[in-house]
Amino acid sequence: MAISEISYLILVPLIVALINIVLPVILRKLLTAGTVIYLALLTYRLYTGDVTETLILDTVVFSVDKLALFILIFIQVLSAIILLFSLKGVKQEFQKAFFVLYPMTIAFSNGAVVSVHSISLIIFWGLTGIMLYLFAIMDKTKEASDTAKKTMIIVGGSDVFLILGLVLIWFLEPGYGWNLSNNQVLLSGELAYIAFFCIVIAAFAKAGGFPLHSWVPDFAKDAPVESAAFLPAALDKLLGIYLLARISLTIFKLTPFVHILLITLGALTVITGVMMAMIQHNGRKLLGYHAVSQVGYMIMGIGSGSILAIVGGLFHMVNHTIYKSNLFLALGAVEKRTGTNDLDELGGLGTRMPLTFLAALIGAFAISGIPPFNGFYSKWMIYQGILEIARSQSAGYQIWLLICLILVVFGSALTLASFMKFIHAIFLGKRPAKLADINEAPFNQWLATGLLSILCIGFGLFAKELPLKHFILPVMNQPGLNLLGAYSPLMLIGLFGLALLIGLIIYWITRKVRFDEVYLGGMEALEKFRITGTAFYNEIRNLKPLKGIYDSAEKKYLDIYDLGKHCSFGIAKLFSTIHNGQMLFYNLWLVVGLLILLLVIK
C-alpha cells in the first residue's frame, strides 16, 4: 500500500475524529481547527504540486484530476469557515458529538472526491450519508428523529442506485476495470441508460434535485444549524454536483435527449423549490427549499452539454455553497441570539445585529442573482450556455428549452421576492417587544459570515480573474472563455453607484422626513397589529390555482418519500392479511409450494 499525500486528506481528519472521542471539548475544538488548517495547506500543495496517486493492492484508488481538485479546495474552504462559526455557539448538548462528526465528515467527503475506484467511491459516498444521519439525530425531538429517518432513507437508499450504476459501468466497459477516471461510456443500449440514471438518482438525492429533494428542507429545519450550513448547503452540494459532473463529463457521453431531460429536471427543481420556499414561515425551511431550488441551475448547467453552461453550473455550485452557508449561518446567529427561527416572531433586528444583517443582505442579493454579486455571474453563464445549445436544436426542442429558460428566470425573480420576505421578516419592520435587548452575534460568528460575504462580492466582481481562471476553466481544459460579451461587473457597479448617487442627491434636495409612531384607529399600534414579513405572501399562498397545489404539498401528497411510504405500506398490508395465523392455511402453502416445485422442475 503506497500512502501518498492524497490519502492524508482522509486519514488525518479521520484519526483526529477518533482522537476527539476521548478529548475534552475545548481540545476537540482546537484539534479540529488545526486539522482544517492543515487540510487547507495540504490541498494547496496538491494544487501547486504534481499529482500523486495512492495505490491499494496495486490498483489506483485515490487520485485527483482538475475537477476533483477544484471540489477539494472548496470543501476545505467551506469547512474552515463553518468551523470558525461553530467554535463558539454550538448547543451544549451537541458539542461533544459535533466535533467528532465534523472532521469525520470532512474525511469522508474528501474520500469521495479523490476516489477514482468505484468501490471506494461507493464506500465514502455511503459514509457521508451516514454522517448526515448522525447529525440529524443529535436533536432528540420527534420531528428531528422523523427527519433523520427520512434523510437516511432517501440519501442512504440512493446509495443502492449508485452501487448498481457503477457496477453496470464496470460490466459494460470491462476494459477499464473499476477505474472511473476517463471511461467515456457511450449511452447506447438500455443497460447504459439504466446505469446513467441510477447514478443520476444518487447525485440528485445527495444534492437535493427534484424529485428527491424533500429531505433538504426538513434537515435544514431540524438538524443543528451549523450542520445545515455544513452538509446540505455546502458539502452535499459539492458532492452531488461533483458526481453529476463526473458522470456527464468524463464517465458517460451524453445524447441530446439526455441533455434536454436534465435541463427540464433542473428547471422543475428550480421552480418547485422556489414556489415552496415562498410560503414558508420557518426561516430554516425557507433556506432549505432555496437550497433545492438553486440545485436546479447547477443541474441545468452541467446537464446542458454546452461548455459555457457547464462552467456556469460548476461556478454556480461554488457560489451557492458560499452564499447559502452564509445565509444559514446568519440565520443561525440570529437564532442563537433570539431562540427562534420562526419568521413570524422575528423582526427589526437590523439595527441590533448590523453585521449579521449586512452578511445576510449580501447573501440574499447573491442568491437572487443581483449583479454584481457572484450568483448573477454564474446564472448569466448558464442562461447563455442554454441559449447557445438551443441554437443547434430543432424547432420543437428550441421552444422547449425556451420554456425551461423562462421558468428558471421567473424562478430567479421569485427567489428575490422570497428573500425580500426573509430579510424583511428578520431584520426590518417593527421589532417585537421581546426582542428588545438583542445584541450582535459573537466575534467568530460574524467573522465567518463576513468572510463568506467577502467571497460573494469577490467572486462576483473578479469572477473572470479569480475563480474561473484558477479553478473552473482548467477543469474544462479551456484556457479562456470570451463569450460574456457586454457584461462587466465593474462597469455595472459603476452604473449602480451612479444611480444610487442620483437617488441620494434627489433625496437630499427634496428631504422632508418625519419619524413617528404607527397609529391604528387613533391609538398607538399594539404588538398584535405588527405586520410580519411573511404576511405579504399569504396572498400568493391563497391564489386560486396555487392553493390546491400548496395544500396538497403541505399534506405531503407530492413528496416522493411519502408516496413511496404509502405504496410500501399498502403492499405490506396486502401481504400481512394473507398471514392470518391459521396453521391449516400455512400448511396449504407448503403443499402448494411443493406441487409447484414438482411441476416446474423437469
Partner: protein, 493 residues
C-alpha cells in the same frame, strides 16, 4: 479427529447439566459456557487447519459406505465456526436474561442439545444421520420456543412443531427414495451413483428436498412458521434460530445437497434464484409493516435468506462467495439485533415499537450497537453487510442477470427504510412516559455480547481483502464449486 468432539462435547454437557447440576443453575452455566468456549476454540482451529483439504472421520472402525462418516472440509468447518460463535455470544447474553424464567438449568440443557444437533447436521456425511441430528436440533428448538410458558409461545411452538414435522416427513421421504435408488446413505456415494440413474429421480428428490429443507430455511412459501417462532422464543434463542439455525439446517444442507450431491443442476439454480427473489422482496415488505420489533426482525430473516439463496443460485464463483459471506454476516448482525430487541423487551416490558421511544439515552450500548447492526443489515459501508450485498450485486450483474441485482437493490432500500423506522421509534423521538418504569438492568455480560458482535460487524468486513479472503472464504467457495471434488475427497479417490 476434531469433528466428533464438536458433537460429543455439547451432547455430554447437556446430559451432565441434567444429571449433576440438577436444579442448580450455576453449575449449568459453568458447564455450558465451558462447553461452548471449547467448541468455538475447536471449530476455529479446525477451520484454520483444514484449509482446502478434506478430512474424513469414519465412526467405529467401519469403512465407507457402511459407516457413518463425518466430513471436515472448508464448508463444514466454516459453518461450525458460525454456529459456535453465535452460540457463545448467545450464552453470554442468556446468563442474566434467562433468569426471568423458571428453571433456567433446563434452558441450558436444551441449548446444548440444540448446538449438538446443529453441529451434527453440519459435520455428518451421511444423509440419514443428518436427518437424526436435524430432529435433535428441531426438538430442542420446539421446546426452547415455548420456554417462556405463555399461551402465545405454546401456540407458536405448536405451529412450528406441526409444520416442522410435515417438512421432516418430506425429507424422510426424499431420503427413502434416494436409499431405494442407490442403496447407500453416504452422501458422497449417492453423489457418485446418481449420474448413472435417470435424471428424473434427481428432479423429484430435489423438489421434495427443496420443500423440506426450504421450510427449515424459511424460504417463501415455506416460511409461515418463522415469524411466530422467532418472535416468541427468548431473545438469545431467537438470535440462535435466526442467526444460525435456519442456516445450518436449511441453507447449509441445501448447498451441500444441491451442489455437492446433485452436482449443481442448472434448473435448481433457476429455482433458487426465483424463490430467493420472492423471499427477499415479500419478506422485506412484510417486515416493513410490523410494529412488533421481534416480528420485524424475523421477517427480515426471511428476506436476508433470500439474498443468500440468490447468491447461491447464481452459481458463479462470485455469487457463491457473496452468498456464503452474507450467510456469515447475517448470522452476526441478526443475532446482535435480536439481543438488542431482547434488551428492549426486558427493559420496557413490551415488543411494540409504538410504545417505546427516546431510549438512546437510557440504553446507550444497546442503541449504539443496534445502529451498527441496522446499518450492517441495510448494507451501508463500512459494515459487513455492505460488502456481501455488494458482491451479490456484482455477481448478479456479471452473470448477466441484472434483474436480480435490481430486486436486491429494492430489497436493500426497503430494509434500510424498515430499520430506520425501528431506530426512530425505539431509540429516538419522544420518550414514552408510560414505559418509564425500567424493569431490569442490562448486565455486563449482555453488554459484552452485544459489543463483541458489533465489533465483528466491522471486523468481518476485512474478509473481502484478498489476502484474508483467500484464507477464509475462498476455500469454502472452492468446496461448493468443485462439485465432483466432494465425491473424490470423501471416497478417497
Amino acid at each position: 479427529m476434531i469433528l466428533p468432539f464438536l458433537i460429543i462435547i455439547p451432547l455430554l454437557a447437556a446430559f451432565l447439566i441434567t444429571l449433576i447440576s440438577g436444579g442448580r443453575d450455576s453449575w449449568a452455566i459453568v458447564f455450558s459456557i465451558l462447553a461452548v468456549i471449547s467448541l468455538l476454540a475447536l471449530s476455529v482451529f479446525s477451520f484454520l487447519s483444514t484449509g482446502s483439504q478434506t478430512f474424513i472421520y469414519e465412526m467405529s472402525g467401519w469403512k465407507i459406505p457402511l459407516t457413518i462418516c463425518l466430513v471436515q472440509d472448508a464448508l463444514s468447518t466454516f459453518m461450525l465456526v458460525i454456529v459456535n460463535l453465535i452460540a457463545l455470544t448467545s450464552l453470554m447474553f442468556s446468563v442474566s436474561y434467562i433468569r426471568q424464567y423458571s428453571a433456567p438449568w433446563k434452558y441450558y440443557a436444551l441449548f446444548m442439545l440444540l448446538i449438538a444437533g446443529m453441529n451434527g447436521v453440519i459435520a455428518t456425511g451421511d444423509i440419514f444421520n443428518l436427518f437424526v441430528f436435524m430432529e435433535i436440533a428441531l426438538f430442542s428448538a420446539y421446546a426452547l420456543v415455548a420456554f417462556g410458558g405463555k399461551a402465545e409461545e405454546y401456540e407458536a411452538s405448536f405451529k412450528y412443531a406441526v409444520m416442522g414435522s410435515v417438512s421432516s416427513t418430506l425429507i424422510l421421504l426424499g431420503i427413502g427414495i434416494l436409499y431405494s435408488a442407490t442403496s447407500t446413505l453416504t452422501m458422497a456415494k449417492i453423489a457418485e451413483i446418481l449420474p448413472t440413474l435417470d435424471v428424473k429421480l434427481t428432479y423429484w428428490v430435489g423438489a421434495i428436498f427443496l420443500a423440506g429443507f426450504g421450510l427449515k430455511a424459511a424460504i417463501i412459501p415455506f416460511h409461515a412458521w418463522l415469524p411466530d417462532a422467532h418472535s416468541s422464543a427468548p431473545a438469545p434463542i431467537s438470535a440462535m434460530l435466526s442467526g444460525v439455525f435456519i442456516k445450518s439446517l436449511g441453507v447449509y444442507v441445501l448447498i451441500r445437497l444441491f451442489f455437492n450431491v446433485f452436482g449443481g443442476v442448472a434448473v435448481f439454480n433457476e429455482v433458487f434464484l426465483v424463490i430467493g427473489a420472492i423471499s427477499m422482496i415479500i419478506g422485506v415488505f412484510l417486515a416493513l409493516g410490523q410494529w412488533d420489533i421481534k416480528r420485524l426482525l424475523a421477517y427480515h430473516s426471511i428476506s436476508q435468506i433470500g439474498y443468500i439463496i440468490i447468491g447461491i443460485g447464481l452459481a458463479t464463483n462470485l455469487g457463491i462467495l457473496g452468498g456464503v459471506f452474507h450467510l456469515f454476516n447475517h448470522a452476526i448482525f441478526k443475532a446482535l439485533l435480536f439481543y438488542n430487541a431482547g434488551v428492549l423487551e426486558m427493559t420496557t416490558g413490551t415488543r411494540d415499537l409504538r410504545q417505546m421511544g427516546g431510549l438512546a439515552k437510557k440504553l446507550p450500548t444497546t442503541s449504539f450497537t443496534s445502529m451498527i447492526a441496522s446499518l450492517s443489515i441495510a448494507g451501508l459501508p463500512p459494515f459487513n453487510g455492505f460488502f456481501s450485498k455488494l458482491i451479490i450485486f456484482i455477481a448478479a450483474i456479471q452473470a448477466g442477470r441484472p434483474v436480480y441485482a435490481f430486486l436486491a437493490g429494492l430489497g436493500s432500500l426497503l430494509t434500510l427504510a424498515s430499520f430506520m423506522k425501528m431506530q426512530r421509534y425505539a431509540f429516538y423521538g419522544k420518550e414514552n412516559k408510560d414505559a418509564d418504569k425500567t424493569l431490569a438492568k442490562v448486565s455486563t455480560a449482555m453488554k459484552w455480547a452485544m459489543i463483541s458482535l458489533a465489533v465483528l460487524c466491522l471486523l468481518t468486513s476485512l474478509m473481502v481483502i484478498p489476502g484474508i479472503r483467500e484464507l477464509t472464504l475462498d476455500p469454502v467457495v472452492a468446496v461448493i464449486m468443485n462439485k465432483t471434488g466432494y465425491i473424490a475427497e470423501v471416497l478417497g479417490r
